[in-house]
């Protein structure tokens, strides 16, 4: 930091937004290869997103009347919502099941969840168009529709996540009057988050129940809603492991002096991941038997289904178990990455790859769809970094106070 920086007045804006640097120093600190790549993605992606609203779906996507759902639903919505399930999974562990050790990772999990939902909603709006019509879901009484349930639950849960996230936000802003009642309400908010998540994570799967002929039989099951919920729990656990491993590396400076045994938490999560994935593997087999679909284990989709079952469900289950038993944190992290990829693969299989499988003109997303999805993920990552660098997310001031700091 140069002398100019040290002599400039130390305002709140400078301390809390510019991280104590002058404008020039702050701008210089942003010049990194990672930021350059992110900037390139966003500079192309944001205009593409606006172009979609100007020119419509036909000009930007490969969607058609026979394939109305594409990458923005299959990846941004279906996958994004599942991967953002860490908020309710860890929230429930800490606030409801009283596993207080996991409190240390509750805030980053909630933030990941909140940003994940926000980006999923943006992806959904990109798919739907006409954002101003979204109010319709609150005024139209379509209680028999699964989409109605998904829309209401996602809207309510995003609000709950915002209120949970508001605790560190108001702490950062120094607004004690606001954050203390919210802190007290955290248990109630967690109960709501578990309720809404259970409803819409499974409802996203229920959307496919009405289409047994369109979805390849190995993925279609009358229990698909249960599979979606269980995989959301797996995704939540695995994302928290991956995210805390990255946070430990990237935000190391913030963790100095904290006595959280992150490895013990990772190993604890691995046990949960192993057991849930193991049970899920057998439930999936049960689903195939129940749908009389053994005959479909043939051809490309049959082989691809086996890859998902063995490589993305059974393998991470065994690797989690191995890591948890032998206290190998690295093995657990590898298992978490495989499990996260497995969830992405599963959601893309259900909503795109094995969907409408008999159609000779099968949907392949356009480059613009992929770029917009990539842009949304990038914005989510950048927002996470911006917030963690400023707000008390990786550390809870109350913990520090209790520890006598």
């Amino acid at each position: 930091m140069n002398s100019n920086a040290t002599t400039a007045p130390r305002t709140w804006f400078r301390e809390n937004i510019l991280l104590g640097m002058s404008w020039i120093d702050y701008a210089k600190s942003l010049l990194t290869p990672f930021n350059a790549i992110c900037a390139f993605i966003c500079v192309v992606g944001i205009p593409l997103l606006l172009y979609r609203f100007y020119a419509g779906l036909g000009a930007t996507t490969n969607l058609s009347q026979t394939q109305p759902w594409g990458l923005w639903i299959g990846f941004d919505m279906m996958t994004g919502i599942a991967l953002a399930a860490g908020g309710f999974t860890i929230g429930a562990a800490v606030e409801i099941f009283n596993l207080k050790d996991y409190h240390a990772i509750e805030r980053p999990a909630i933030l990941t969840g909140f940003l994940g939902y926000l980006m999923a909603v943006v992806g959904l709006i990109a798919d739907l168009g006409k954002p101003w019509n979204m109010v319709g879901i609150f005024t139209y009484n379509g209680t028999r529709s699964v989409l109605f349930e998904v829309a209401w639950c996602v809207a309510c849960y995003t609000t709950v996540l915002f209120l949970e996230f508001a605790v560190p936000l108001f702490e950062w802003l120094g607004m004690k009057r606001f954050y203390q009642p919210l802190r007290k309400a955290l248990l109630a908010l967690t109960v709501l988050s578990v309720m809404f998540s259970t409803m819409h994570q499974s409802a996203l799967g229920s959307l496919f129940i009405i289409a047994p002929g369109k979805l390849y039989p190995l993925w279609w099951s009358q229990w698909i809603y249960a599979f979606f919920f269980i995989t959301a729990v797996v995704a939540g656990i695995s994302m928290v492991i991956v995210e805390s491993a990255i946070s430990h590396r990237v935000f190391h400076a913030q963790l100095v002096g904290r006595h959280v045994d992150a490895d013990a938490l990772t190993l604890g999560l691995a046990k949960a991941g192993a057991v849930v994935l193991f049970a899920y593997f057998f439930l999936k087999l049960q689903g195939v038997i129940d749908a009389h679909a053994w005959g479909s284990v043939k051809g490309f989709l049959g082989a691809w289904w086996l890859v998902e079952m063995l490589g993305f469900i059974l393998l991470p289950a065994l690797l989690y178990a191995y890591g948890a038993r032998n206290r190998k944190v690295k093995a657990v992290r590898v298992a978490a990455v495989i499990a996260v990829l497995g969830i992405i693969v599963n959601r893309l299989n259900v909503s795109i790859i094995a969907w409408d499988y008999a159609n000779p003109n099968h949907y392949v997303p356009s480059w613009m769809e992929i770029w917009v999805s990539l842009t949304l993920v990038t914005i989510g990552v950048l927002a996470f970094r911006w917030i963690v660098n400023r707000m008390p997310v990786l550390h809870d001031p109350a913990d520090l106070a209790a520890a006598g700091h």
Binding site: F278, F282, Q286, I289, D290, H292, A321, A324, R325, R327
Partner: protein, 234 residues
């Protein structure tokens, strides 16, 4: 559903039941494998000499190793590699009573019950009882300690008192303090003891010095056994 599909329901049901049973059979070893890490650690701790583990667990004046479970009556229990449970008195009890003249232990083959008197310590023609931390049948008695009570100087090591076959250990252990909870509880007990100390004794103890052995006798040579009984809950 056509008739054909209806018939195919039978093998499907059979497969479903077989899968469910197979899953349950496989789940048990899987669960034990996943949960095994903690047990493995406990086994390692049991292998290590108890004295080696002791310095890590200082609860103020009194120490407690990581691998023992403390009973509120100041006795301890430790699961051994062969599945038996070793019982002894904790450092607090040892330092409270100090030098012991004689020691009465249950006979091998006899039964002990959690919370019931099992050990008698005698000194100065007074005796004090201590409670068993677990239920079970006594399988071995430390004769050397009974004959030479000086071994109690090492309460978690050479000063072990008897071994029990404890079929209800999992249930018993819920009533005991382990790890951080044990240290916290022992800290509470030492504070309760400190509150009883007279100012004359205070300069020995409350300035951070380690308590002398036989604190109860220092406190009240006439009625030390009553003080001990309040702490030992007998």
């Amino acid at each position: 559903m056509t008739g054909n599909e209806f018939l195919s329901g039978y093998p499907a049901k059979l497969m479903e039941y077989a899968l469910a049973v197979g899953y349950l059979i496989l789940f048990i070893p899987f669960w034990r494998y996943v949960q095994g890490a903690k047990a493995a650690r406990q086994r390692v701790a049991a292998h290590a000499p108890a004295r080696a583990a002791a310095p890590s667990g200082l609860a103020g004046w009194f120490h407690v190793p990581e691998n023992v479970h403390l009973h509120p009556g100041h006795t301890w229990a430790r699961m051994e590699q062969d599945g038996s449970v070793t019982v002894g008195i904790d450092d607090f009890a040892h330092k409270l009573i100090g030098r012991v003249a004689a020691l009465a232990l249950p006979e091998a083959g006899g039964r002990v019950a959690q919370g019931e008197p099992a050990i008698q310590l005698a000194a100065d023609s007074k005796t004090v009882g201590l409670l068993s931390p677990v239920d079970g049948t006594v399988v071995a008695v430390n004769r050397a300690a009974a004959e030479e009570p000086g071994r109690l100087e090492d309460p978690y090591g050479k000063g072990w008192l008897f071994r029990v076959k404890a079929p209800r250990f999992a249930a018993n252990v819920r009533q005991l303090f382990s790890g951080a909870a044990a240290r916290e509880w022992l800290e509470g007990a030492s504070q309760a003891l400190a509150a009883r100390l007279s100012p004359q004794l205070g300069h020995v103890l409350q300035d951070g010095g380690t308590p002398v052995n036989g604190i109860a006798r220092e406190l009240d040579p006439e009625h030390w056994d009553e003080i001990a009984r309040t702490f030992f809950r007998t």
